[in-house]
Symmetry: C2
Subunit: 551 residues, 2 copies
């Protein structure tokens, strides 16, 4: 057993009477310094398990108790140091993310909502694609997904059927338009017996999580979502908590899981704000290993200032607000849906490859983290290439298969740039953008120190008033970031076609300047020994970036 | 003398004593129904003139009086009907623009600030360029312009020098960086004797206005601006009014002039808001022919609701707000600076050709009017091609010369599309954008009528609150417009790469659908006889538009 890998303990005993989800089994682990209380679960087939995620090597002891055992069970075990390449669970560190061993985690996410609910052939193809992709995080759902281009029933569901659910087939005519979510707000649909998990489902699902871990990919697990025809979105709240209890017993010791309470919580009309607060509290209280936890919106942002929330998980194209959110929440800022590269009619899914690449540069330059998705229209030539499995309507964003957009290669280039920086970036907007999110008084204080010619502009920002100023700055924003110690500055020139660019660097110390073509994926050192205001000669074309590294 | 052309009456008499700008000469014109009181001006060389702009054919009489004449002079004259192609001055009609004869005027502007302050060779080249361009409006300054890439002194200035101005050379080292505007706020710089116009200047300037008229181009005259080293921006207010008095006496009868009180009034630190109000009032009161009048901002918008203001003249990239401004001001909405196509380092001047084209489509689709400018970086290969005159640092946006951007051809295509519509467009945003600028209560009222699946989204917009909603809608906006009578609908799909698009048309009547490639400049009828919700098959690439014309 090794540091940062799940340690599993199991015993055989007769199946529980009554609930198979909420059983009386608990273990206390200690390394002599710290203590972890971990609930066990029934895994089917007369097997009980307790899982533990060790974060330090050394000698541990444990004692398991509970009515499903004949009596307390104790033991001692040793955790070896981490295997090479294993860095432990990812946690927030200020506005950034680090593995438990301190390694920075620069999140480059993608989205395959129903990854785990596909045919074995398709899932194999998806993992193969991921293994060649730049992505180190995947957003995926526990429950299956019902939406346009997503009509298949999964092989397994998380639970056995209830009386009400018996005999339901859940079939949908392929190719038909589907309402994305039901308007049901009466949380009493009860097709499922949450007290009786479907063990084949959970075994298969865990298998996918392990495959992701083996690829170095974090699993941003979506616990609820509104795109449903099976009744998972409308279960009674008491069933939601039983489901979460079982899930947390099974999955909390996986090193690579994050908890995303929902995809688009605000479209889940069957749940009230009180329900969500209870869900958030339950997940936080029942995860002994404190994985990342957030909640994801469609329209109204979740309140990411809540103490249980570890990071911002925002669906938005308001890229210029990375710095504002870093300041406001003091937490990592993830743009977990900036729309999808593709060609579907739905406005969420027809970003050009250039736009998706721009979105990644916008967010990443400011020290935020961006998440990709891909939605080429089924039936078009591009989409036919999407899978070798022969299945129709395979769209990456929900079902996986093949990526064939042009942004992933550019995202890989960006990742290589970022991972070679001396440290993580934070927003340091250039030009007037530095005034974004500031109050009149803050801008007045800044005004005193600016050069004459520039003062008129800054005064103008005050004269505009906050509402017009916000709107003005949102379209004038220039994306720039820097490391906390000024060792690196990144200026993303976006669609600006400059033949020259003026950048402001610190006066103390000198910098080497690299010119990056974010579309052609080239980088070249063009200056060295510079400091202060510096004019960089540019090629007069869009999608260029300037990187300054302290010498 | 013809309808819609300036009628000029002149007399010889000795030069005035004292002020040559504000002389005692006035004429009353009447066609028997209506009366116009028009001030005359001294044109130098012992010549006095009175100018009149007749808007109807027929018999007119006039009586001129004033101390510069020996006694009253009366006369009768006939105005012939308009020559072919002469439609009269442009005026506002609701949110649109029409010539006096009722012909719609679809403004497609460009910007050559210092057009009239260049060498004869360069000005000839500029007019030649304009004659082949899609532009029917030019923004140009009365005073010369001092800015980066604009260092030349003009041949003539509007006035003779004052004592303080004698001997000043105003030279600037070519290629040096210049502060764009002075921070002088003491409006007492007095290099010029405004009571003694420089007649060579005015004759030459009028010549340019006539050349524009001959090309069918409106002259959006900028009366003040901050980019100055000669002292025009810092004249005392009493001198500003004398200057305006003389200008209005001379130029009000030109059919093709508009009054733009300023370029970037809010950067003119020497003028207070009271000064601007007085200037606005003075111009409106002293123009007997009521030309279009507006004021143009850098940051803080002018209050376009003021009664003297005929239209919105906004510097902005907030294209999604066309409809909001139409609703708010009930006046034509002109985006008179959406930044410039080019490659200069200044963020105002490095739009790609694609972006400039997009801006025109954004604004025009919503029934607004957009103004172009071009700023290729001097010294680059592109800029060398800019002029055949051998002058350096010739940038179209200030000095004219040659256009070599790729947007003008696309703007010409757009103009041909718009001019062949049955009437002018007004904003009719598609999708959630229809909620932009609406209050919670207005959205609640709308909510009652929307289909089930969509209701959740609309409710979400209410839940977001106005501030977040505004920001959300600003990045989700989908540009669409329609004629008031539903005879045409235009959907600009912008950078969306759809393989199909769903558009909503009225149920009554049928429509012919054209697919427009706004970049490749092609149009093709792809459907006919359709109504209601219609799916249009698209090529999955950006910059497409859909035009629906009622059959």
């Amino acid at each position: 057993m090794r540091q940062y890998e799940m340690a599993e303990f199991e015993w055989n005993a007769p199946a529980p009477k009554g609930s198979e989800a909420q059983i009386d089994l608990c273990a206390v682990f200690t390394d002599g310094e710290k203590e972890w209380t971990v609930k066990g679960f029934y895994a089917g087939n007369d097997t009980y398990k307790v899982r533990f995620l060790p974060e330090r090597p050394g000698r541990y002891s444990f004692t398991a108790t509970g009515s499903v055992l004949d009596g307390p069970i104790s033991g001692i075990f040793t955790i070896e140091p981490a295997a090479e390449g294993k860095h432990g669970p990812v946690r927030a560190d200020g506005i950034h993310l680090r593995h438990a061993d301190g390694t920075w985690f620069y999140s480059f996410g993608t989205t395959v909502y129903a990854l785990a609910h596909q045919s074995e052939a398709l899932m194999a193809e998806t993992f193969d694609t991921l293994s060649h992709s730049p992505f180190n995080k995947v957003r995926l759902c526990v429950f299956p997904k019902h939406y346009n281009y997503n009509h298949n029933n999964p092989k397994y569901y998380a639970f056995k059927r209830s009386k009400a659910g018996e005999g339901l087939t859940f079939e949908v005519e392929e190719g038909s338009q589907v309402a994305p979510m039901s308007e049901v707000t009466d949380a009493s649909v009860n097709n499922w017996d949450v007290h009786h998990p479907c063990y084949e489902f959970w075994d298969a699902f865990e298998n996918k999580l392990k495959k992701l871990a083996a690829l170095g990919i974090e699993a941003d697990l979506i616990l609820f979502h509104p795109y449903d025809r099976w009744g998972f979105a409308t279960m009674p709240q008491q069933d939601n908590l039983v489901y979460l209890d079982y899930l947390l017993r099974r999955l909390s010791a996986f090193p690579n899981v994050w908890w995303s309470l929902a995809n688009e919580y605000d479209l889940c009309r069957a749940k009230s704000l009180e329900d969500w607060n209870e869900i958030e509290e339950f997940v936080a209280a029942n995860d002994p290993f404190h994985h990342l936890l957030s909640n994801h919106n469609c329209l109204k942002p979740w309140d990411w200032s809540r103490p249980n929330v570890t990071h911002v998980s925002w669906q938005s194209k308001q890229m210029y607000r990375v710095g504002e959110l870093q300041q406001k929440f003091k937490k990592p800022v993830l743009f977990d849906e900036c729309r999808y590269e593709g060609t579907v009619p739905e406005s969420c899914g027809n970003l050009s490859c250039r736009q998706m690449t721009q979105h990644f540069w916008h967010v990443t330059t400011c020290g935020g983290y961006c998440t990709h998705g891909e939605t080429f229209f089924p039936g078009t030539k591009e989409a036919e290439l999407n899978t070798a499995t022969g299945e129709s309507e395979v769209v990456w964003w929900a079902r996986g298969g093949r990526l064939h957009g042009e942004s992933p290669a550019r995202i890989a280039f960006l990742r290589s740039v970022i991972e070679n920086l001396p440290g993580p970036l934070e927003a340091a907007p250039a030009g007037l953008g530095a005034m974004a999110g500031k109050s009149d008084d803050e801008i007045r204080a800044f005004l005193a120190g600016v050069p004459d010619g520039y003062r008129t502009f800054i005064q103008g920002l005050i004269d505009m008033g906050p509402a017009e100023r916000d709107k003005f700055l949102s379209v004038e924003f220039e994306f720039a970031g820097k490391t906390a110690d000024d060792s690196a500055f990144l200026f993303y020139k976006d669609s600006q076609c400059c033949s020259a660019a003026d950048i402001m660097l610190p006066q103390d110390g000198t910098y080497r300047i690299e010119l990056l073509d974010t579309w052609e994926m080239t980088r070249e050192t063009v200056m060295s020994g510079v400091s202060g205001m510096t004019r960089v000669i540019m090629p007069g074309k869009p999608y260029m970036a300037i990187l300054a590294i302290r010498e």
